[in-house]
């Protein structure tokens, strides 16, 4: 655990970067510092490994006052990842990763073996070991940066906007990678970002800083989205926080209806009866394996010869689907909004249709969870 008690950083020119900060960062979890620029989030992070010394206050790591520790020794026990990765241009990838083991006096073979292990862990190819940083893409460099921080297996990892310099696609894959690594390693991660979406995705808890270096709110992502303490936090997290909050509710809460799903070998006349009985204007046509084929409207069915099978009619593309067991309400809502029929297709893990959900049903499900506490502290996984 890392604790800040009454931490203030005042610069000689009078600027206050961090103002009387009290915060507890639990061990083995990811805590994200987020806020607009100039809010003191990076300064706070850099105080943990003594890259910045506080003017007043106390910081402890594992109960020990960090001022009692030699800064260099302290830093070797804390992983540090920065924005542009900060890789040494004159060292190969493997030696970049082995930097801290070298500093700790490990022998070369042991340090390099460890570095190669980490390359694999962060998803780098073994043949990249002898390359130089400039030969790697930005995303790969950042993977090396993460591997380098993990090399000496430090319990604490400080990450200062590590993914902000790469393009959105690469950023998403790096974020997923970090989530996967953290599930395996359980480090105490302090992560700084200005991107609230990144914070919500990665954080077990989020500390929102306001300009002037004050802590505005420290909460789980879900509670932060549900109950921002004031208008600053609300404004910072954005006005679509309601929709984002749906990420924390599983699509399992929905009950997809199955009476509007027909096989593609059913005759049009029979399908029309089914549609009239259900009162729905659209039926979902599935194939023999219950894979979705497309939507058919009652009008099309009425105009068709009652004897033809629905599979041979003009079907409307079904858009994208959501997975009932693993997706969130947000994914289901998204699927419904984008569907030409206004209905979302729910499938199981193998892609077989479980049922369909109309926007109106989604609406009532959303309304019913509105007041509730979310069942999970983390966003439902496959939702990005």
């Amino acid at each position: 655990m890392i604790t800040f008690t009454g931490i203030t950083k005042r610069y000689p020119d009078g600027t206050i970067a961090v103002d009387d900060l009290d915060i507890e960062i639990p061990a083995g979890r990811t805590t994200v510092f987020v806020g607009p620029s100039g809010c003191g989030k990076t300064t706070s992070l850099r105080m943990i490994n003594r890259m910045v010394e506080p003017t007043t206050g106390l910081i402890t790591v594992e109960g020990q006052d960090i001022r009692d520790r030699d800064p260099a020794v302290l830093r070797r026990s804390i992983g540090y990842v920065i924005q542009q990765a900060g890789l040494f241009p004159h060292r190969t990838i493997v030696d970049n990763i082995a930097t801290v083991p070298f500093l700790l006096g490990w022998g070369k073979p042991r340090a390099r073996a460890r570095a190669r292990e980490l390359m694999e862990l962060v998803g780098l190819q073994p043949e990249q070991a002898k390359r130089y940083p400039h030969q790697l893409s930005g995303g790969q460099q950042q993977r090396v940066g993460v591997a380098r921080a993990l090399a000496a297996d430090p319990p604490v990892l400080l990450m200062d906007e590590p993914f902000s310099a790469v393009d959105p696609v690469v950023r998403t894959s790096l974020q997923d990678e970090l989530i996967r690594l953290q599930a395996e390693l359980h480090k105490t991660i302090v992560f700084v970002t200005h991107d609230i979406d990144e914070a919500v995705k990665l954080g077990d808890s989020i500390a929102v800083f306001r300009p002037g270096g004050k802590l505005a709110q420290l909460d789980t992502p879900e509670r932060l989205l549900a109950n921002p303490v004031d208008s600053f936090v609300e404004g910072f997290i954005g006005y679509d926080r309601g929709v984002r909050r749906l990420s924390f509710f599983p699509a399992r809460l929905l009950t997809p209806r199955t009476d509007t799903v027909v096989g593609d070998d059913v005759q049009a006349g029979r399908a029309r009866e089914l549609a009239l009985r259900s009162g729905e204007p659209w039926l979902l046509v599935v194939d023999g394996e219950r894979g979705p084929r497309g939507w058919v409207s009652t009008e099309t069915l009425g105009a068709a010869d009652p004897g033809t099978v629905v599979g041979s009619l003009d079907l409307v593309d079904y858009g994208h689907v959501f997975t009932v067991e693993t997706d969130s309400l947000r994914a289901a809502l998204d699927a419904a909004v984008l569907s030409p029929a206004g209905r979302a297709v729910g499938v199981d893990a193998d892609g077989r249709v479980v049922g369909v959900v109309a926007q109106s049903e989604l609406g009532s499900a959303i309304w019913s969870v509105g007041a509730e506490e979310a069942p999970t502290a983390e966003p439902v996984r496959s939702d990005g």
Binding site: H134, Q135, G139, Q140
Partner: protein
Amino acid sequence: MGDQPLIRWDWIARNWDDPVGTRLLEHIQLALVPILIGLLIAVPLGVVCARWRWLYPSVFTGVNILYAVPSIALFFLLLPYTGFTQWTAIIPLSLYTLAILVPNVVDGLYQVPQHVRQAAIAMGFSPLRRLIQVELPIALPVAIAGLRVAAVATISMVSVASLVGLGGLGQLILTDGFRRQFPTPIIVGIVLSVLLAFLVDGLLVLMQRLLTPWTRGSERAARRTSAARREAGAGTTAPATDTGSRRAEAT
């Protein structure tokens, strides 16, 4: 010497017009002509190298060799051809100026951001107009940084020309001073040469301020890139290549 004073002011007073004044004027002429000639060749050559980049590596190698050739040796090699004319000094010093200036002009032009060049093309600048109105002005700070090194170095090197019998402050140092074991003319020669170098350097700084008013705020950044280059003279960087294509593709 031994007991004579380092500077005899009465000598300076008696010889102020001649030889001191005469030598100073010769020195100015011997320094300025090569700087101008070097400039007149280096700018078009640099522009050509920046336009057709495949030319640059070979020009760069040539310039590096020129830079290595000691001017003093060239003075003696030229002597039988050009005799005791000023060309004996002007040719080697022009080549030296050229060697410092060409990389600076090319680097300066390479520094023109791609988006600026594209914007100029999109707005319909013709290549020549673009060069004169957009690219050369942007390249100016780096080019002038090179010009300053070349000017200061040339002014101090002109003194060497006295060894082949040419004029300039070197004559004051060699003939009036060293041959007669008399330190005063040597000190006068050194001081005037340094002052002249600083004066020209200062004028060039002033010229840059007037010509590139937009760089004033960001001078620190410009200095950072050009300071090392200034010292190193020619050939600080290998010809820039397109590193983008060499980078491994994204994950």
